[in-house]
Structure formats: C-alpha cells, structure tokens
Amino acid sequence: MSKLSKEMIHLLGNYGHIGFTFVAAIFIGMGLGIYLDQKVFDGRTAPWFTFIGLAFGIAAGFKSLYDIVKYQNRD
C-alpha cells in the first residue's frame, strides 16, 4: 500500500466517526435525563433533568471531539 493511501485511511478512520460520536453522546445524555424525569421521578421534575442531561450530553460530545483531536496530535 502506498504511503498516501495509508495516511488517507488513517485519517478516514480517525475523523470519519466524529459526527456519529457527537450525536451518540447527545442522545445518551438526553436519554438519561428523560429517563430520570419520566421513570425515576414520575414526571414531577418534568423538564429539568432533561435539560441538564442535554447540557451534559452536548458537553460530552465536545469532550469526545477534544479527545479525538488530542489523540491525533499526541507526542
């Protein structure tokens, strides 16, 4: 395999999953919030845990972006 295509594959693998990881983090955070609101507290705390979970999910998405970039630029 030539050097260029090897590097191309590397980049594709490292950056190709950014979109999916970002969305998955948001979904997990928000899903957790909705679960807490609807199942654990029976809707008494209705929108709050959802919003908190959404905020944590978005933060986690950016954190995973940061991790990907940091891993790419390590040592």
Binding site: G13, N14, A60, K63, Y71
Partner: protein
C-alpha cells in the same frame, strides 16, 4: 425489508426448520434460524475452511494462498504494533485480527445475490461492540489498577462533579456510536441494493451501489478495527 432470496434460509425451510418471517423470530429455534445467525455461521465456516485450505501445510517458500495471508496478517500486525505497542499487540492480536477478518468478510458477502451481511443486524454489531468495550475497560483496569478511575475524573479535583458525568456519557457514547455506525452503513447498503434490484434490476441499476458497497464494507471494517485499537491504547495509557 426482506432480501429477495436467501439461499440458506430456503435450504433450512426445506429441511423443516422454522424460519422467522420478521427480522427476529419468537421461539428459540426460530431465533437460531434467523438469517443473520445462519449467515454468521456461514461466515465463520468460510473463514475457517479457507484458512485451513490455504494454510493447511505451511511451507518455507510460500505459495499463492500462504503469501496472501502473510501479507494480510503481517500488514495488520505492523499496524497494531505501530499504534498499540509490542506488548498489547501480542496480547490482543488474535481478537482484533479476527474481528477485522470477520467484519470485512461479513460486509462483503452481502454484495453477492443470495447472501446477506450478518452485520446488517444490530444484534451482531452490538455483540462485537460490547466485547470491545468490556475489553478496553479490562485492559485499562489491569494496566492502571485502581488509578484507572482517574481517566474519568478530569484534570483537577474541583472539576470532578462536572467531568465525571461528561466522561461517563462520552464513554457510553462509544458503545452506541461504534455499533450503530457499522450497523447503519451496512444496513443502508443492503436496503438500497434490495430496493434498486426490485425497481430496475434488469437495467443493472444496483451496479454503482455495489461498487460503493465494496468501498463502504472495507472502510467500515477498518474503522471498527482502528477505533478498537485507539480505545485500547487510550485505556492503557496513564491518566493525565
């Protein structure tokens, strides 16, 4: 969306075994006979038989078959050593290389009429992902001991209440993204092929998608392996 023809399902049906009509059956036997299960077995048998046929008797001067495997396995090993280091590669090479071969073959057989990709079912990809996910935590725990928890605590103690949920969520997001990416890509390829074949199979409409399908299959197998390597490397490192 069912495939037009799945020959293993037809053979099993002729043998009198129950074939589920939906994607997953109800009874135990029906679940065993679901297409993604039978084609998983098919892929495994294919890999074992081809490996046995080409590597049955190893020679000093390799023939065609042995040459192919030597290049493939050698290339993969070089890649792992470059990324994970010698020690981890020796420990984990069998698992990750098996995943790579299995996913690549499983993706590619879906392009042949009469076959389906086992990876186009979320059950298969989720199983693979859970194995990888548990493995990277086990590797992290063994390498760092109880200090592995520092991976989840952020850079300084005052930020722990903020960083702990974020790190946990982004860690669980790996589970979701790794499984759904592989599943989504392959399922999309399979469904698109099926629809195009039904609509305009006589005019070779699925042909361009098949060419893209080869690319997608190989790239997805590679992305899965690359991410496995990255996760294990990160878990093995000392926390910042």
């Amino acid at each position: 969306m069912e495939h037009p023809i799945l020959f293993i399902s037809i053979i099993l049906e002729k043998l009198g075994l129950p074939i589920p009509h939906g994607p997953v059956g109800h009874g135990f036997l029906e679940q065993i006979c679901a297409p993604y299960m039978t084609y998983t077995w098919f892929t495994m048998i294919f890999l074992v038989v081809v490996g046995k046929m080409t590597l049955g008797n190893l020679e000093m001067v390799p023939g065609k078959g042995q040459n192919f495997w030597e290049i493939l396995i050698g290339g993969m090993e070089d890649f792992f050593v470059e990324n994970m280091g010698r020690e981890l590669t020796d420990k984990l090479f069998p698992m990750i290389a098996t995943f790579a071969l299995y996913i690549a073959v499983a993706n590619l057989i879906g392009l042949i009429p009469g076959f389906m990709s086992p990876t186009s079912s979320i059950n298969t990809t989720l199983a693979l992902t859970i194995i990888v996910w548990v493995t990277h935590h086990v590797i992290g725990l063994r390498a760092n001991g109880i200090g592995y928890i520092k991976h989840f605590l952020g850079p300084m103690p005052i930020l722990i209440p903020l960083m702990l949920p974020i790190e946990l969520i982004s860690n669980f997001a790996r589970l979701l993204s790794l499984s759904i990416r592989l599943f989504g890509n392959i399922m999309a390829k399979e469904t698109l092929l099926g629809i195009l074949f039904m609509l305009a199979g006589a005019f070779f409409a699925p042909l361009p998608i098949m060419i893209l399908g080869v690319l997608v299959s190989l790239v997805q197998a590679m992305v899965f392996v690359l991410l496995t390597v990255v996760y294990i490397t990160q878990a093995n490192e000392h926390a910042h």
